[in-house]
């Protein structure tokens, strides 16, 4: 799985280039002292060096990955669960923006439990309601804190 190390090296190199590009019009020196672009450019230069070192290191077969090790096995149940979680997180973000925490928490909790292969409907519903209620009681009533509010609700 050395290819991931090459990809990381390439991404880091491009990231350094982006820093240089974005700071092209920013002052490198300001009244004889380092300006706003000075330190970011140092970071970019070090990034170039480390990216190159990583590529060379990988080429010299000193990769961190063991032979045959699979980093992202999209066919495995575990990775598929995480991919479903990614989707749930994106939807939770959208849902929270419009409908606030309480409604989002109800379905998001049920979704997480469902993704973790607990499929009994009663358990899903009761857990979602109870956990949301506990959070509400602790934070809103107990600690007098605000929970995220949505645009609509």
């Amino acid at each position: 799985m050395k290819k991931f190390d090459y990809i990381i090296s390439a991404v880091a190199f491009c990231f350094g280039l982006v820093i240089f590009y974005v700071t092209r019009n920013v002052e490198k020196f300001y009244n004889g002292t380092p300006g706003s672009a000075f330190f970011p450019r140092i970071i970019a230069v070090v990034m170039f060096v480390v990216a190159a070192a990583l590529a060379v290191n990988t080429f010299l077969k000193r990769s961190t990955y063991k032979k045959g090790e699979v980093i992202f096995n999209f066919g495995s149940v575990g990775t598929q669960r995480v991919l479903w979680m990614f989707l749930a997180i994106i939807l939770a973000g959208i849902s929270m923006y419009f409908f606030g925490f309480i409604l989002t928490s109800l379905w998001f909790t049920a979704a997480v439990i469902f993704i973790m292969e607990e499929r009994r409907p009663l358990v899903l519903v009761v857990s979602a309601i109870l956990l949301t209620l506990v959070i509400y009681v602790i934070f809103t009533i107990g600690l007098q804190m605000y929970l995220p509010r949505g645009r609509i609700i």
Binding site: F39, V50, N57, I90, Y97, V112, E117, P148
Partner: protein, 504 residues
């Protein structure tokens, strides 16, 4: 003497006592739950601590820190699964003792060792921190710059054992994230893309929660196995939660030796409780008259790792409070918390905020005492924690992450940052990156840059000043060696082996 009374009156308010007690209780719960770590517990509670503000918030975090380090031993003993990495060595003798029907004895040994380790580390902190801070008062911008680089490189090299280059890339990413927002020196926006939200910079707390807690939740989901059953002894009735005189007598030298090991390891930036517990265990075995009994449920095999890992708590606070350099991930979170509540760690802390710093140090004694008290009294309750299914705990972690992030500034943008950091953290962990350098880069980024620029102005643009001032030079040399050593050493070893083979 005046300072003593002021500190005591600051510390012994009902609210501060409640926060310390609550922190220790929560910490033990977190530690006892396999899959939740002290770092995760601290990350989740950080925003609430910041909202509370003042020294009380730090006392709460100290309670969580001490409690979580100890809590990990409960499941290590009962189900042979360490609640945190700090207690992995405790499994070796703790679980065999529990299997013999002496779970209560094993937990009592672990509680007593943790208590003694924690208290001795607090004593060490009380006496060493002021001395070190006096020395650090000589520091100027060049030394602070070098110190920032030193802390970052030590944490990078120790936490990225598999590939130090990825650790450096992580640290650079953290430094870059710290650059986003308004430039503190000339007020120009950097990397904001015109966004008003980014103008104030990226708050490190949502990133920290995402990287440390949310990403771990995702990993828990990936690794979750519904059919996995532990070899349970948690149903076993726990009797005798206090250690016997014989056990105390046998373990006394181990308590002292392991505590010293833990304190010293804690002081070295980048190390942590896991290293301390293994070193303490090995040393206890080496010094023992019956090393053959180790691994079969010997009391010293429990006392050593537990005293060692809890002694790290005070040790790690020494560089944090005196130099502003965190000793491990947990103290990196503390560093953030201290800064957010207006307590700036560093040598000046002992001069400018004497009351606050001594309240924190004495608070560590209190946190350890509460940890011991809760440990002895609530061991039967905590033994049940391991029975809580993971499918209940994981959504709770996610919900706490969301609520905690929002509690900070009440902005939806922070939640988005936390989500992005959580997903990015999961991917980075899978790719072999380690998280502490990223967070430390974010926290130390401004210190490093501002002191670099200050030194440049003070010494008329003479870069050589970083290498001509002795303290700065020494710190930079150590930083350089710590980063180069993991890269060069395998090559040297390989060449040496090849030479030996040729000679043979």
């Amino acid at each position: 003497m005046d300072i003593f009374f002021t500190v005591v009156s600051n510390l012994f308010t009902p609210f501060n006592l409640f926060l310390t007690f609550g922190g220790a209780f929560f910490g033990i719960l977190v530690g006892a739950m396999p899959g939740l770590s002290s770092v995760m517990g601290l990350s989740i509670m950080l925003p609430f601590a910041i909202r509370i503000g003042g020294v009380g918030s730090i006392l709460m975090l100290l309670g969580i820190y001490c409690g979580a380090v100890y809590g990990g031993s409960i499941t290590a003993i009962l189900i042979n699964t360490p609640g945190t990495a700090n207690s992995a060595a405790t499994c070796l003798d703790g679980h065999p003792m529990a299997l013999r029907g002496e779970a209560g004895r094993a937990i009592s040994l672990s509680t007593t060792s943790s208590l003694i380790g924690g208290l001795l580390s607090a004593v060490a902190l009380l006496f060493t921190a002021p001395l070190l801070s006096k020395f650090a008062l000589k520091f100027g911008p060049t030394e602070y710059f070098a110190l920032g680089i030193f802390g970052l490189s030590i944490v990078t090299s120790v936490s990225s054992t598999e590939n130090v280059l990825k650790g450096i890339l992580g640290a650079l990413l953290g430094l870059f994230l710290a650059e986003i927002g308004m430039d503190a020196i000339n007020g120009l926006p950097r990397f904001t893309g015109g966004s008003v939200f980014l103008l104030g910079g990226i708050n490190f707390v949502p990133v920290l929660i995402g990287l440390f807690a949310f990403s771990q939740g995702l990993i828990s989901i990936e690794e979750y196995n519904k059919n996995l059953k532990h070899e349970r002894t948690s149903q076993q009735k726990i009797k005798g939660v206090f250690p016997s005189k014989e056990d105390m007598k046998v373990c006394f030298p181990t308590y002292i030796r392991s505590s010293i090991i833990g304190i010293v390891i804690g002081i070295i930036p980048g190390t942590g409780g896991d290293i301390a517990s293994w070193v303490a265990y090995n040393e206890a075995k080496r010094w023992s008259k019956h090393p053959e009994e180790f691994g079969k449920g010997t009391p010293e095999g429990i006392a050593a790792p537990e005293a060692g890992n809890n002694a790290v708590t005070g040790g790690a606070l020494v560089p944090l409070l005196t130099l502003g350099i965190p000793g491990d991930s947990a103290t990196a979170i503390m560093l953030g918390a201290l800064m957010m509540v207006g307590i700036t760690p560093g040598p000046l802390l002992f001069v400018e905020q004497t009351e606050s710093v001594y309240t924190i140090i004495i608070g560590l004694f209190l946190a350890n005492l509460f940890m011991g008290l809760i440990g002895y009294a609530g061991v039967r309750l905590f033994a049940k924690i391991a029975d809580v299914p993971k499918w209940i705990m994981t959504p709770i972690v996610f919900l706490f992450c969301i609520v905690g992030t929002y509690a900070l500034n009440h902005t939806f943008g922070d939640i988005v940052v936390m989500f992005v950091a959580g997903i990015a953290g999961y991917v980075l962990l899978k790719l072999g990156f380690s998280v502490p350098p990223i967070i430390l880069g974010m926290i130390l980024g401004k210190t490093i840059e501002n002191n670099f620029r200050r030194a440049y102005v003070i010494y008329d643009g003479d870069f050589s000043v970083f290498f001509t001032r002795p303290i700065s030079l020494v710190l930079l040399i150590i930083a350089f060696i710590s980063l180069i050593y993991p890269l060069v050493m395998p090559i040297i070893l390989k060449k040496r082996r090849e030479k030996q083979v040729k000679e043979a």
